[in-house]
């Protein structure tokens, strides 16, 4: 806005047209006031008081106009009885926009009627703020303008969260962990799962990487067993011996794969915990 005003000011000086600069400043100022007021009226339900406060401020300068637009307490009670609370609220909110127009001598209030707002093409756009590092989907929801939009933001925030590995350091209490419950039920790696659940994500990810390298090395051994031996020639071993060793390598791979699965389940559970 500052840049727009500066540019307009400099061009006005060159042309000598000061009226144009004032009109633009009014339009911008009025637009900002309308936007701010619109946001506030969407949040608070105390519009009459707000209007009165605005009126009190403005009264010092334009007492007559405000008196015409802001109803007194008796009129409010009577009008409330005549129409629904929502319609009443919207109508009063609209009067605030008329006050702003009057102050800035502009005509933008018509853009803030309930109908105009409902048909605003900007409603079709989704805009939001990506979560800050460490923030959760709940904060993204706050940034949403409407509930439906907020749901979209939450979903988008989840995806960003996953991408940034945020949430994987959450500690899930043992008594609430489905993964730990499963490990106990299956009687497999229960103590290891418990230990991994208290570790930071990067340590569990390190374990996963280490297991994956072990798996790759063992697959290489299965593909080329001769290379695995130093003091013994693979071909000199009996078929039973060879078969037993192959079975052993496969079983080690299975063990590491199982551990990776547990660790990934722990990280996944942390991502979803508390949402």
């Amino acid at each position: 806005m500052k840049d727009a005003l500066s540019q307009e000011e400099s061009s006005s000086h060159k042309s000598g047209d000061e009226t144009s600069f004032i009109q633009v400043a009014k339009a911008i100022g009025s637009g900002i006031a309308h936007e701010i007021y619109d946001e506030i009226t969407d949040i608070v339900k105390i519009v009459p008081q707000f209007c009165q406060e605005v009126g009190d401020c403005v009264e010092k300068f334009k007492p007559d106009c405000v008196k015409k637009l802001i109803p007194d307490e008796r009129a409010i009670t009577a009008e409330k009885e005549m129409e629904g609370q929502v319609e009443y609220y919207e109508r009063i909110a609209f009067k605030g926009h008329q006050v702003i127009d009057y102050i800035f001598s502009t005509d933008q209030a018509k853009d803030f009627t309930p109908d105009a707002k409902a048909n605003d093409p900007r409603n079709e756009f989704t805009y939001g703020t990506p979560p800050f590092p460490g923030s959760s989907g709940k904060e993204v929801i706050k940034a949403g303008k409407t509930l439906s939009q907020a749901k979209k933001y939450k979903k988008a925030g989840k995806v960003l969260d996953r991408a940034a590995h945020i949430g994987k350091d959450r500690i899930v209490p043992l008594e609430k962990s489905k993964v730990y419950e499963k490990a106990i039920k299956q009687k497999r790696h229960a103590k290891t799962v418990r230990d991994a659940m208290s570790k930071p994500a990067k340590e569990n990810q390190k374990s996963i990487r280490s297991h994956k390298k072990n798996i790759a090395e063992h697959k290489e051994k299965i593909a080329n067993p001769k290379e695995a031996y130093k003091d013994v020639d693979w071909d000199s071993l009996t078929p039973e011996h060879q078969a037993r060793q192959m079975k052993r390598w496969s079983s080690e791979i299975k063990g590491w794969e199982e551990q990776i699965e547990w660790l990934e389940e722990i990280l996944e559970e942390r991502m979803n915990y508390g949402e």
């Binding site: 009687k187 229960a190 340590e203 090395e217 130093k230 013994v232 000199s236």
Partner: protein, 185 residues
């Protein structure tokens, strides 16, 4: 933790198992051209079980030195395979201070894994279709029998609660010995 009963128990037990494994290797001598016999099966069994002991330290971020497993590479030292220093380098900073809970967890989960494998081997030995006639499979299962027996005997000596450490998950005399003593046709 240094003077913990549990830590002393596992350190001493692993030392004993390593000794048994090298004794089994002495009986076999060189594996080059060695026939598949009871003794080669026993040696392979020891090598593979000790490998499980080593592998499982990674799962709990236990320093192998703390358990006396840093000075042995079972497959290289017992079966003539290549040493893998790269694998050790990879896990050199995957270490946490040893606690009572870690040692207990280590023994607990390891016992489950060893028992599962032992029972699979036992079932294979009992199945006439898959059973060998040269003693190789019996030797392999015997390694499990001896290790379970050693772990339980040592637990009694050190006054370890066998149930808390899952050591009582198997009764080797009841579960494994009948298959080992069964006559082969």
């Amino acid at each position: 933790m240094e003077n913990s009963k549990l830590r002393k128990y596992i350190f001493a037990t692993i030392a004993l198992i390593k000794k048994q494994a090298f004794q089994a290797k002495e009986k076999v001598g060189s594996l080059v051209g060695a026939p598949t016999t009871y003794n080669t099966g026993l040696l392979m069994g020891y090598a593979h079980i000790l490998k499980d002991f080593r592998n499982y330290t990674i799962a709990l971020w236990i320093d192998r030195k703390d358990l006396g497993l840093a000075d042995i590479e079972p497959e290289a030292d017992l079966l003539g395979m290549k040493s893998n220093p790269e694998a050790d380098r990879r896990i050199k900073d995957m270490i946490e201070p040893l606690t009572e809970e870690k040692v207990e967890g280590y023994i607990y989960d390891l016992m489950t894994i060893l028992k599962e494998t032992a029972m699979e081997e036992q079932a294979q030995l009992d199945d006439p279709a898959t059973s060998d006639d040269n003693g190789f499979d019996r030797g392999y299962l015997m390694a499990y029998y001896q290790i379970f027996s050693t772990m339980q005997d040592q637990a009694v000596l050190f006054g370890i609660d066998q149930k808390a450490c899952n050591l009582s998950i198997i009764d080797p005399d009841r579960d494994l010995l009948p298959s080992l003593l069964k006559e082969k046709k």
